[in-house]
Amino acid sequence: MKKILAIVLSLCMVLALCACGQKEQGGTSKDFAPDPEKTITLIVPQGAGGGTDTQARQLVEAMKEVSGFQNIIVENVTGGSTGIGTNQVIDAEADGYTLLMYGTYVVCGTMTGYTDGYKGLDFIAGLSLEPFMLAVKSDSPYNSLDDVIKAAKANPGSVTLGNAGATATTGVVAYGMNIACDNAFNVVAFNGSSELIPAVLGGHCDIGVFSQSEVLANADGLKPLVFLGQDHSVLDEFKSVPTLAEAGYGDLNVPGGCFRGICCTKGAPAEMEQWLADTVEAAFNSDKFQSFLNENGLLPQFSKLGDFEKFNSDMIETMKPIIQATGLAAGEYAK
């Protein structure tokens, strides 16, 4: 009995300590600036080190520089096909201090039923588009998209097509391509691109759907087959990689890349949202961030608040038929 009492007492002590950790809410002044006692947390719903994460960290550094507000951190919350991180932002206090690195993956996650996604978020600013590529190991016998599709159709299930996750955007690309090819591929979902890249480099998986920066980082080991963006890559290294239309598959309708932006919990104070949007805009236009975009072949696509929301609803309309065609759509998005 005494032991139980001791355990209960020690638990009480800990709870008391935790309660001390909560800070009191301060009032807001007219000339708006964020509460210096608070920390702005940008939640990246993907693992550290990937393209989304790198861009988030670059943006946060630029935001600190242009605003002078130093309490901005990046937090990686993985799992649930980016749904866990997204839900954490949706459920956070609506004070504008919890941000989400929004992206095409959230649209996929919403349509496939893992999160309420864009319905529970306010839109701050759209940033950039990162084009996708299909690539194989550098000594692979396949030299073009045509080679791959012919080999898959000749012997269905024998060619493995890897992606970064079943409900990731690259997953939608893989499933979309597979459906268009009469299920000729063996589509395998990996746990993020950090597992997909070594699997293709090591010859365990035949083809992978990568974002352009991932192929660039492993240019020695990977051979790009086709560029999924609208026009050719802006990078010198990949200028000669054919687009889908040039490869002879112009009718293949799959997402061409991953769009990224910043969102916050729905219902945040308007002045805080305005401050965030202005800060992100200044950070986006900084030389450092612009050169980051250029070096990584990312296409700048800035929009703010209402414009970003409109841009997003256009993106949703474009993606809806693709996701419905893959058969992954859930709830109101299913046919």
Binding site: A6, S158, N186, I197
Partner: protein, 508 residues
């Protein structure tokens, strides 16, 4: 070479050295306090490391790691209580040396041994890591799955007195690993899905909170049972000579090499860890000493050999464990599991891409590891005369401190989210109860942790391997690496069972 200089540039700040010094002192203190492990030490400084430059932050984490592994020998030698599992095998000879009045030489010898082990294994890490990084490409899902199998089998076979109990605890770890999202489809697998869907539990049990609960909190619960028992007050404060004679150390080169090899190798195999390595190293040293009775004293009689062998091995594990951690992203032991998490928070993803994209950072990591080892030795030697005083603290004062630290760690880990912090504290408390019940009934705890780490890995890689093989086992039986690992698992199980039978027969 330019990569190396860039790496040096990342490290060469006064702040790096200051934080490494701080980390070493903190690590030694944490290691020396019973119940606090290297794992918990790392978890405690994660929030600090996060505020620093990447290279400096990693230096801090590595310093705490090395310090805590080495500091555990202090209470082992003075009191016969290992500070953490790393020092289990140091207890016998260390305690006997203290009783002989050689405490100073035992403590000093342990530090020298730790330094040799730490730096020796780092040489392996530096020269073989790039090679291993290339070799890791041969590890696809099927190979990783069978590798996890080997880790699970080893721990179940070696830990504790009963294989059955080890396996049962491993299975419990598997059960804990299954909580959370399905690795292939992302569907939630958790009781009361509707309640837990939007909580951090939807992501499964948090690894650090689980480890702190199983080791730290459960220790407090165990000590509650001894609350009214007489406290250990007869701490030996007579230190004596600190440095062992150089000749003696040099004559033990065979023991040092065998311990270094065993420590590095065991450290590099995921799912093993120091507690196995130290016993293997001590056994090997016993073999060497009995073959050369004139030259060496026999371990078990209170001699420097018996302290040196496990202390070289446990710090060799630190370098060894970093090999798969950095090149494969697979933790070599539970401390490196937390370290990987900490690296990822700092924006560094271990694995193939680390070596292909960020060699300067890898070199800066090697340099800080070297600095961490040297600081560990300097500070631990400097304080040899002070340590017995720390151990004079009564358990009645110490255990509440341990408990508070055990809850502060997970809570701080949750970052800005208060509700997440409470869930982590709850996880630590729950796992503390699990650990207490297991300990009380003489079930080993280590297999739970390894089941949790390796169970998730085993399942995910098995299913992906099956998918790549279009629903057949072809990816497994066509891979020589898989056959090797499967054979190794069988050999380990069979040899352990035979050995147990023999000792049982000998007793009868």
């Amino acid at each position: 070479m330019s990569d190396f200089l860039l790496g040096l540039g990342l490290v060469a700040h006064l702040a790096t050295f200051a934080w490494c010094a701080f980390g070493s002192v903190l690590g030694i203190i944490l290691g020396a306090l019973p119940g606090l492990t290297a794992t918990m030490g790392i978890a405690l400084v994660i929030p600090i490391s996060y505020q620093l430059d990447t290279a400096t932050g990693i230096g801090l984490l590595l310093s705490v790691y090395c310090g805590a592994v080495s500091g555990a020998s202090i209470p082992a030698i003075l009191l016969g209580i290992p500070g953490n599992p790393n020092a289990i095998a140091t207890v016998e000879d260390g305690q006997l040396m203290t009783k002989k009045g050689l405490a100073g030489q035992a403590l000093g010898g342990a530090v020298i041994a730790s330094l040799i082990g730490g730096l020796g294994s780092e040489i392996f890490l530096i020269f073989f890591s790039p090679l291993i990084a290339k070799m890791t490409l041969a590890f696809g899902p099927a190979e990783k799955c069978t590798l996890a199998l080997v880790g699970i089998v080893i721990i179940a076979a070696v830990s504790g007195k009963s294989i059955l109990k080890g396996l049962l605890m491993g299975a419990l770890g598997f059960v804990f690993a299954f909580v959370g999202p399905d690795p292939m489809s992302g569907t939630l697998r958790i009781p009361f899905v509707e309640i837990f869907r939007k909580t951090p539990l939807a992501n499964g049990f948090d690894m650090t909170s689980t480890l702190i609960g199983l080791y730290g909190v459960s220790q407090v619960f165990s000590e509650l049972a001894n609350l009214r028992k007489k406290q250990n007050t007869n701490v030996c404060t007579n230190i004596g000579k600190v440095f062992p004679p150089f000749k003696k150390v040099a004559s033990m080169w065979q023991i040092i090499l065998s311990s270094l090899g065993i420590g590095t190798l065991i450290g590099a195999i995921p799912g093993t860890g120091a507690s196995i390595a130290v016993f293997m190293a001590r056994n090997a040293a016993t073999g060497i000493c009995s073959r050369n009775k004139k030259k060496f004293d026999q371990p078990g009689t209170g001699c420097l050999e018996g302290v040196f062998a496990p202390e070289v091995a446990n710090n060799a594990v630190t370098g060894g464990a970093l090999i798969p951690a950095l090149s494969l992203g697979i933790p070599g032991d539970s401390a490196t599991a937390v370290l990987i998490g900490a690296l990822m928070i700092n924006g560094v993803t271990p694995g193939y891409s680390l070596f292909s994209q960020n060699m300067p950072l890898v070199y800066s990591l090697f340099i800080t590891l070297c600095v961490a080892n040297v600081f560990m030795a300097v500070f631990q030697l400097a304080g040899v005369r002070l340590y017995p005083k720390i151990l004079l603290i009564s358990q009645r004062v110490l255990m509440p401190i341990v408990l508070v630290l055990s809850f502060v760690g997970p809570y701080a880990l949750a970052g800005s989210s208060v509700s997440k912090g409470i869930y982590y504290v709850g996880t630590a408390l729950f796992m503390g109860l699990v650990g207490y019940i297991a300990k009380k009934n003489e079930y080993p705890i280590a297999p739970i942790v390894l089941g949790l780490i390796l169970g998730g890995m085993f399942e995910e890689q098995f299913r992906r391997g099956m998918k790549l093989g279009a629903g057949t086992l072809s990816r497994f039986y066509t891979s020589p690496i898989c056959w090797l690992f499967i054979a190794l698992s069988v050999v380990i199980v069979v040899s352990t069972v035979i050995k147990r039978k023999k000792t049982e027969n000998a007793k009868v």
